[in-house]
């Protein structure tokens, strides 16, 4: 008996949301056809996220989400946001030190003088609380005013390395990179299947520093016929050899012609 012709689903480009900071950039304006043109906007009001969402410069920017300028723009903002957080931590440390001195001197002297300590803490608030809110507020301003090609208040940008990820594969993959802490040079461990099974490790992995020494690119070559599944590899900071991040690679179903089906 003749077997009926059978159709198969197309191979998915990916199977998971891209929730990284770049993910939002891939969002389009929405499905065509667009909403009914006779529907005007709701009377009054602005976008709940406030000003900065919808200006022309950013609309143009969103139209080409994967352009080099877009990536640079986001990279810069990620770096400067990191700097701001680092700044926050540093300020916290300094305040903690000064508070510590004050607290310990109080303990040595009048340990029960809690009201005085509280007064000191209110003062401490002006050192750290204001900075805390303002730092995060600065993020808001950046979100609202930054446009491509503009660096806003980026401090010590060179401290944060730029790590790229390059995957060579003959089958569809999803890859992500997470850095736990800054590291300018890395060693990449082989990628191991999770959960461990019969799948071979992916061993052709390397880190290629860029010319400036302030970053580089992780390169992964997936062998032909590598088993479908999830793989993880640890990134070690050089020369300390301590964990600095992880790379995750998901190998999706093999393409049609490699499945060996009739």
């Amino acid at each position: 008996m003749k077997e009926p012709q059978r159709l198969r689903r197309p191979v998915p480009r990916r199977t998971r949301p891209n929730r990284s900071i770049l993910g939002a950039l891939s969002q389009s304006d929405g499905l065509p056809p667009i909403a009914d043109p006779v529907d005007g906007p709701e009377a009054g009001g602005m976008h709940p996220l406030g000003p900065g969402f919808g200006d022309a410069a950013e609309a143009d920017f969103a139209a080409d989400p994967l352009s080099d300028s877009a990536r640079e723009y986001i990279d810069r903002n990620v770096r400067s946001a990191s700097d701001l957080i680092d700044g926050q931590i540093r300020q916290g440390e300094e305040t903690a030190k000064s508070l510590g001195r004050s607290a310990f001197s109080s303990l040595n002297g009048a340990a029960s003088d809690l009201p005085a300590l509280l007064t000191g803490l209110v003062r401490a608030y002006s050192d750290i609380g204001t900075a805390w809110v303002d730092i995060v507020g600065a993020l808001a301003q950046k979100a609202e005013t930054a446009v491509p090609g503009t660096v806003n208040g980026s401090r010590n940008a060179a401290d944060m390395p730029m790590i790229g990820l390059s995957v060579v594969a003959g089958q569809p993959v999803e890859a992500s990179l997470e850095l736990f802490r800054p590291a300018q040079r890395l060693t990449v461990q082989p990628l191991v299947a999770t959960p461990p099974g019969n799948a071979a490790d992916i061993r052709e992995v390397s880190f290629e520093p860029d010319g400036s020494g302030a970053g580089g690119r992780i390169r992964i070559v997936v062998p032909g016929g590598q088993a479908v599944g999830m793989y993880h590899g640890l990134l070690l900071a050089d020369p300390e050899g301590t964990p600095a991040g992880a790379v995750t690679l998901k190998i999706l179903t093999l393409p049609e012609d490699e499945r060996g089906r009739s």
């Binding site: 998915p12 990916r14 199977t15 939002a24 499905l31 996220l49 440390e93 510590g100 990179l177």
Partner: protein, 722 residues
């Protein structure tokens, strides 16, 4: 080149996800690439969202309360496209999507004030620009950085507004901003003392104290964190001291707010916002590739607590309301509130910061009438085939386990003369679904009606035929759009073949729900309700949520119109679901349990909302509007028999939970383990992991993408949300 043949798609189920997939696959611009058949259990589309019209009064009977939120971009886009294509003639009821959905800017919560004392609080959220489903203009707003920024501004606004100016005096031009929502929130907390300048001065002073106390606490928290994260060993003594100071400051703050409701409410919001901001920064949600999923192992309250939210804030109406809204009680046990923190945070951010038009949108008739009847009409016009009364019994795998080879169906009823079943009825000119099958269209209908046949019931096994659909002949692709509760029953072969499916059915859980509706012959204002028409949650169990549905009166078909319609709903504990070998009898006993709970609620608890509906003997049963005929003879508590209640215990009717640690076990519609199958439903890994219309529609869109690479993932709004 050979012409491609039409691809046959069997869609199992007719809920939001299934019909969204059908809508996408049959868009006119696809030029008939797909030939779609929807196989539907029973007599109506809708799944958990199905509603029906009572034959006598035309009253709407729902599974529960369905509110659409202003961030349901994909769901609104679907409905707007649907109504445009439907193109009802001028003068028709519910002609456009604007007729179908109306903005609702109030959200209410109840607050516990003691063992038996509760307060109501209504907050007004101002209209935001645009309407859900409009094209997004400019940069996509769904970024953690954007949310963090708005949280910071919101907090600053909150503190500065209460400190520097009286909340009632909003600056000109500020009314459009979210800040105004907060000020209004504060103003509504300020209550009756608006015109009292002396009182105003005292309030300002107290707000100042509040702000100072809050900031001291914040400073303590920040310092402690800095110490712990930089020098954990050396800082132990200092941390211990800070603990003591925190306790002192917190006691001061709690003493301050304990005496004043408005301060307490402001503090609770500020406290939660602060915890969110701390959490986002400390857990590095700004930068992680997982987005908010990174914290999905935690319970929402647990995560907020980790980041310093007080117990009082964690028990506040807004936090309790977030659990109620998502029926987030494991096993239906109100003692086990459990909600994945990442999804809760995603939901809260989207709900409050990305709504368009209004925070809520209320349907202007039943969900079946507003959503599923128009979609049914459009799909039929496009050539979609509907096979009602078809119950999937088994999804058969091919011998090599690679694809679905067959679909085993039970046919629950056949139509007279083999004609297509015409499922809709006309109620005041509006096509609606009936609340019972249209027996006159099916063979042996009178006998089935007399026997109380309910083909939607899981335990109903009446069958007039069996059929098996074969791959390559009857279908090429399958969209499994059934509710989660049916998956274990019909997918045994898939579960045995694929460990991920096995884990999914074990770990992704659901909960039964209960609801009742009453029609009153007095408006609620006359019964003592003094706030705007409202949806209010966070109240005492067993019915924690009330929605005023007075907008439906004109759409129903009573001889004498009721003056108010009220919906109540909540979870139903698994412990309250009767079990027995006789499933029909067990279901009836569970239904009686819900009825008795509703009667008890009206007698004992509803006075909090409607004080004048209750006298010394309990609820005034004569307030219930009964309808036209035999119902009016009832008196006393028996009069409640004329109202509507439901125990949603069918496996497919159970609400899907977002339990901590469970979301990673969901399977995506894009997953291609079985090469001619995709799945659709709010139980799938669809980007927004909550039981709601938006998640279901997103899942349906993903199912269409899985079969055709369209729509593009970037076109599904919020799929790549952090």
């Amino acid at each position: 080149m050979a012409e491609q043949r039409v691809k046959k798609v069997a869609i199992i189920g007719g809920g939001c996800a299934a019909v969204a997939a059908a809508f996408e696959l049959t868009r006119p611009e696809r030029n008939g690439e797909f030939e779609v058949t929807i196989y539907q259990l029973g007599w109506r589309l809708g799944g958990k969202g199905a509603s029906g019209r009572d034959a006598e009064t035309g009253r709407i009977e729902e599974h529960g309360l369905h509110l659409w939120m202003g961030f349901y971009e994909n769901a609104f886009r679907l409905m707007r496209d649907c109504y445009r294509e439907l193109d009802r003639p001028e003068g028709s009821p519910i002609r456009t999507w604007r007729d179908a959905f109306k903005p609702d800017n109030f959200v209410g919560v109840t607050e516990r004030r003691g063992a038996d004392q509760w307060d109501n609080w209504a907050a007004y959220f101002p209209p935001a620009a645009g309407a859900p489903g409009d094209p997004l203009t400019g940069r996509n707003p769904f970024s953690v950085k954007g949310y963090l920024a708005r949280c910071a501004l919101l907090l600053r606004t909150l503190i500065s507004s209460v400190q520097d100016s009286y909340p009632g005096s909003v600056e000109p031009g500020a009314r459009d901003e979210l800040a105004f929502a907060l000020q209004t929130l504060v103003a509504s907390a300020a209550g009756s003392a608006r015109g009292d300048q002396k009182e105003f001065a005292a309030k300002t002073l107290k707000y100042g104290q509040l702000a100072a106390s809050a900031l001291v606490l914040e400073a303590l928290g920040a310092v402690r964190w800095a110490v712990e994260s930089t020098a954990p060993a050396a800082g132990e003594t200092l941390v211990a001291l800070l603990e003591k100071l925190s306790a002192v400051a917190r006691r001061q703050l709690e003493t301050l707010v304990a005496k004043n409701d408005e301060l307490r409410r402001v503090w609770e919001i500020a406290d939660v916002v602060l915890a969110i901001m701390r959490g986002i920064i400390r857990d590095r949600l700004l930068f992680t590739s997982q987005g908010f999923e990174a914290i999905d192992e935690y319970d929402w309250r647990e995560w907020l607590r980790r980041h310093g939210a007080s117990e009082a804030s964690l028990d506040s109406g807004f936090i309790r309301g977030s659990y109620d809204l998502l029926f987030a009680y494991e096993d239906g046990d109100i003692g086990k509130p459990r909600l994945a923190a990442g999804q809760a945070l995603r939901g809260a951010m989207r709900m409050f910061f990305t709504y368009r038009g209004a925070l809520f949108w209320k349907m202007q008739a039943g969900m079946g009438d507003i959503v599923f009847a128009p979609i049914y009409e459009v799909l039929r016009r496009r050539g979609v085939t509907f096979e009602f009364f078809h119950k999937l019994e088994n999804l058969a795998l091919s011998p090599d386990g690679s694809h679905v080879a067959g679909l085993d169906m039970s046919v629950q009823a056949k139509t007279r003369g083999g004609k297509p079943y015409e499922p809709l009825v006309d109620v005041k000119g509006l096509p609606c679904w009936p609340s019972r099958p249209l027996h006159d269209q099916v063979i042996n209908g009178a006998a089935l009606k007399k026997a109380g046949w309910n083909p939607e019931a899981h335990w109903e096994d009446h069958s007039v035929a069996r059929k098996t659909l074969q791959v390559g002949e009857d279908f090429d692709f399958v969209v499994l759009g059934v509710g989660l509760g049916a998956v274990a029953d019909v997918c045994g072969e898939l579960i045995a073949a694929e460990p991920a499916w096995q884990t999914m059915v074990q770990e992704v859980k659901s909960v039964a729900t209960q609801a009742f509706q009453v029609w009153l012959n007095k408006p609620v204002e006359e019964l003592g309700w003094d706030l705007p028409p409202i949806n209010i949650s966070g109240y005492v169990e067993p019915f924690d949520t009330w929605a005023d549905m007075q907008q439906l009166i004109r759409l129903e078909d009573w001889k004498t119109d009721p003056k108010a319609i009220a919906y109540f709903c909540s979870v139903l504990s698994d412990a309250d679901i009767e079990s027995s070998d006789d499933k029909t009898d067990a279901a009836k006993r569970t239904s009686r349990h819900v009825r008795d709970s509703a009667i008890r609620f009206l007698d004992r608890d509803v006075a909090h909302f409607w004080p004048k509906a209750v006298n010394a003997d309990g609820f005034r049963w004569e307030l219930l509007e009964t309808g036209n005929k035999s119902r009016s003879a009832k008196s006393g508590k028996a009069r409640f028999e004329t109202q509507f209640w439901t125990a949603n215990i069918n496996p497919t009717d159970r609400y899907v939970l977002s339990l901590p640690g469970s979301l990673k076990h969901r399977i995506s519609p894009l997953d291609d383990r079985f090469d001619n199958l995709t799945i659709a439903g709010d139980w799938t890994d669809c980007g927004h992991q909550a039981g709601c219309v938006e998640a279901a529609v997103m899942s349906g869109l993903l199912a269409a993408t899985a079969l055709s690479d369209y729509p593009r993932l970037s076109d599904i709004i919020g799929y790549d949300h952090p």
